[in-house]
């Protein structure tokens, strides 16, 4: 081991040091002898005399000086070689020696310092090496940590990436599912829309078809009613015409059958009107009490025939006048009362009317028709208000009727804002009740009732009165019928003939006799109220007879008559007429006659020759 204990080294060093010092001095100071007197005095004793105090005691044969070496607690004894005198050991020598010793010491210290520095350097190197190793370790550690961290980060990033990819995929999948679901939904929606559209179209078509059906039905009913009314009317006329008993029966069957058919048609017409939404209520003033008693009167003959007591009660709460649709209200009442009379053989029929609710401007009327007839089972109470329902639906049923009456009544009542219902017990009787809203009337009846025409008042045609053309030919037309006047005027004006109209026989006479020269000929209707055509002709001829012979003239009078009855022509000629036209008057025929007779009068503006009777 390099580093020995400092104490041992000091001992070793001490002797080594003495030697080195002596050697050092020997080299520098030739001719001198150096001895070291150690503190133990072993060496010095042989060289010089030195007392215990270090002082030198010069020997006679020997010049010597002693120089203490402070640092080493020793003394150097110097002697001159060859017996030289001590004077040679001058003061300068002594100083030089001391400086030499000093130098030795300095060098020694320098060397020691160098050694120390070397040691320190080695130590520092060692420390540096250790530190470097430590540093490298730390670096490695850092690297390791760094790598670890990087790995962890990479792992984390990888995991994160995978997770993101997984979630993205899931999202994409979910999104795709959503898109598919949306598409499916859209398809469904589209189908739904198509279905709705189809349904709407079908509903619309059905609505149109239904409206068309109702319209057709209404039109058909109308068309059927026309001939049917003629059948009924003429079978009644036939019945009055003095038929044989058998013929009377047949005609009676025709009439009753036609009446039944007409009632059915009317009901169908009403129902189809209601269903087509074309039934509208009218509004006029009427007296409900008067209507009730009116209807009781209507049923009375049947009731009396069957010995049924008929009661009619109108409560005081019912206003004397209301505004509503009297025709439809009456229709419902007649239906219920008619049914009561039809289905009751004995007992009572009661009509009762009351006001159950009175508002500011309206009043709700409740009407009850109570009978002691055959009654209706409870399960039928609602069904009887459906169309074509009769309780007894068998072909040989006892009671006649279309089965539409109650369903029409129900619709009418609903139109009047009310309800209709029945309570009944089989074998005991029925109560039909219905309500209807009417407007309250504050006005007296006269001011609101529709204006009725007096028998002599005739509605004037809406068209403008005809404008008569003027010309050479002037015809006096005696005709009371407005249509026929107009027709003749149209025909004649077109041919350039001027027409003067007389609306009666009397007027014709007045117009002709007033200014006979203005009249080329007279067209005379035979049947006119008051003075007819025959009488007017006679009057004219009589007047002509009375004229002075010079101015006397016979105006042509052409008869026009609606019916070509045998003997009419003779009657006309007999009365003084010249010619005859039967209705319908045809234009060509009329103009022919006029041509003919005007040419005979010397007025010929019509050209071609006419044909004579």
């Amino acid at each position: 081991m390099e580093a020995s204990s400092p104490i041992f080294r000091e001992f070793e060093d001490a002797s080594d040091k003495f030697r080195r010092l002596l050697s050092f001095l020997q080299q520098r100071f030739h001719g001198h002898r150096f001895q070291l007197l150690s503190p133990e005095g072993s060496v010095g004793e042989s060289l010089c005399l030195v007392d215990a105090m270090g002082r030198v005691f010069p020997r006679k044969d020997l010049a010597a000086i002693a120089v203490p070496v402070q640092d080493m607690e020793a003394t150097i004894v110097v002697s001159a070689r060859g017996g030289r005198k001590t004077s040679a050991l001058s003061r300068e020598f002594r100083q030089a020696l001391e400086l030499g010793i000093e130098l030795f010491h300095s060098q020694s210290r320098l060397r020691e310092s160098e050694e120390l520095l070397e040691v320190q350097k080695r130590q520092a190197d060692r420390t540096a090496r250790v530190l470097e190793e430590k540093y490298m370790e730390i670096l490695a550690e850092n690297q390791r940590h760094h790598d670890e961290m990087r790995n962890q980060q990479a792992l984390y990033a990888q995991t994160l990436k995978e997770e993101i990819e997984r979630q993205t995929k899931e999202l994409r999948d979910a999104n795709r599912d959503l898109v598919e679901a949306k598409q499916s939904l859209e398809r469904t929606n589209e189908e739904l829309e198509k279905a709705v559209e189809r349904a709407n179209r079908m509903a619309s078509e059905a609505g149109i078809a239904n409206a068309a059906k109702s319209q057709f039905l209404a039109a058909m009913s109308h068309e059927i009613r026309t001939p049917l009314n003629a059948i009924i009317g003429f079978s009644e006329m036939l019945l009055e015409s003095g038929l044989k008993e058998e013929q009377q029966d047949y005609a009676g069957i025709v009439k009753r059958s036609s009446e039944a058919l007409l009632a059915l048609i009317n009901d169908i017409l009403d129902l189809s009107k209601v269903e087509a939404g074309r039934m509208t209520l009218e509004t006029s003033e009427f007296n409900p009490e008067a209507m009730a008693s009116d209807i009781c009167d209507l049923v009375r003959p049947t009731a009396e025939h069957k010995a049924i007591e008929l009661l009619c009660r109108v409560e005081k709460s019912v206003p004397a006048l209301v505004r509503g649709d009297p025709k439809r209200f009456r229709q419902v009442l007649i239906n219920l009362m008619g049914n009561a009379a039809k289905f009751t053989e004995s007992g009572q029929i009661e009509l009762r009317m009351s006001a159950v609710q009175i508002a500011d401007t309206r009043v709700k009327l409740l009407t009850e028709v109570r009978d002691t007839g055959i009654g209706i089972a409870e399960d039928q109470w609602k069904r009887i208000f459906e169309p074509f329902r009769q309780i007894d639906g068998s072909p040989g049923r006892k009671y006649e009727g279309t089965g539409l009456g109650l369903s029409i009544a129900k619709k009418l009542v609903e139109l009047m804002g009310g309800e209709i219902w029945v309570e009944s017990r089989v074998g005991q009787g029925s109560v039909f009740r219905f309500t209807a809203w009417m407007e309250r009337s504050g006005q007296p009846l006269e001011s609101k009732s529709p204006v009725t025409e007096s028998p002599n008042q005739k509605a004037l045609p809406a068209t403008a009165p005809p404008v008569w053309k003027t010309g050479g030919l002037r015809v006096l037309l005696a005709e009371d019928n407005l249509v026929n006047q107009k027709l003749a005027c149209l025909m004649l004006n077109k041919a350039g003939v001027e027409v003067e109209v007389a609306a009666s026989g009397k007027e014709a006479v007045e117009k002709y006799t007033g200014d006979p020269r203005q009249v080329t000929l007279i067209l005379m209707d035979v049947q006119m109220p008051g003075m007819d055509g025959l009488q007017a002709t006679r009057t004219i001829r009589g007047w002509e007879e009375k004229q002075p012979p010079l101015g006397r003239r016979r105006v042509p009078i052409i008869a026009m008559t609606a019916q070509a009855v045998e003997g009419d022509r003779e009657k006309c000629i007999e009365a003084g007429m010249d010619d005859y036209l039967s209705k319908p008057v045809k234009k060509e025929m009329l103009l022919e006659k006029i041509r003919e007779w005007s040419s005979r009068q010397g007025v010929s503006c019509l050209g071609s020759e006419g044909k004579c009777f």
Binding site: A230, G233, N481, L482
Partner: protein, 112 residues
């Protein structure tokens, strides 16, 4: 009854024919009202007068159905019989209604 056929028979132009028919419809409706009132009130004389007026106009226009029905009413009414007249009058009114429809259609086609 076709209007153009009727116009041809009467020797009239279509517009004239429509005009005369409008007049016929107006006057006949008025006559029918009077007839209805006459029947209700049992006034045979008034029934004769109104049915005769209808008959005459219808005859002149060649409307045979109406003429015959009005003639029937008139004939019975002259004997004081009004039975059946109401129905016959109703039948006339229906005829008149369809005639109205035709005239209306024509007027729509040739507005004056």
């Amino acid at each position: 009854m076709d209007l153009s056929t009727m116009a041809e028979k009467l020797g009239l132009e279509s517009p004239e024919c429509e005009e005369i028919l409008s007049l016929f419809i107006d006057t006949t409706e008025s006559d029918l009202d009077t007839l209805g009132r006459a029947i209700q009130e049992g006034d045979a004389a008034l029934a004769v007068q109104s049915s005769h007026s209808i008959k005459g106009a219808a005859a002149n226009l060649g409307l045979q159905e109406i003429r015959a029905m009005a003639g029937g009413i008139e004939m019975n009414a002259r004997q004081g019989i009004l039975a059946g007249a109401e129905h016959a009058a109703e039948a006339i009114r229906h005829h008149l209604d369809s005639l109205k429809g035709e005239v209306f259609e024509c007027l729509k086609r040739h507005p004056r």
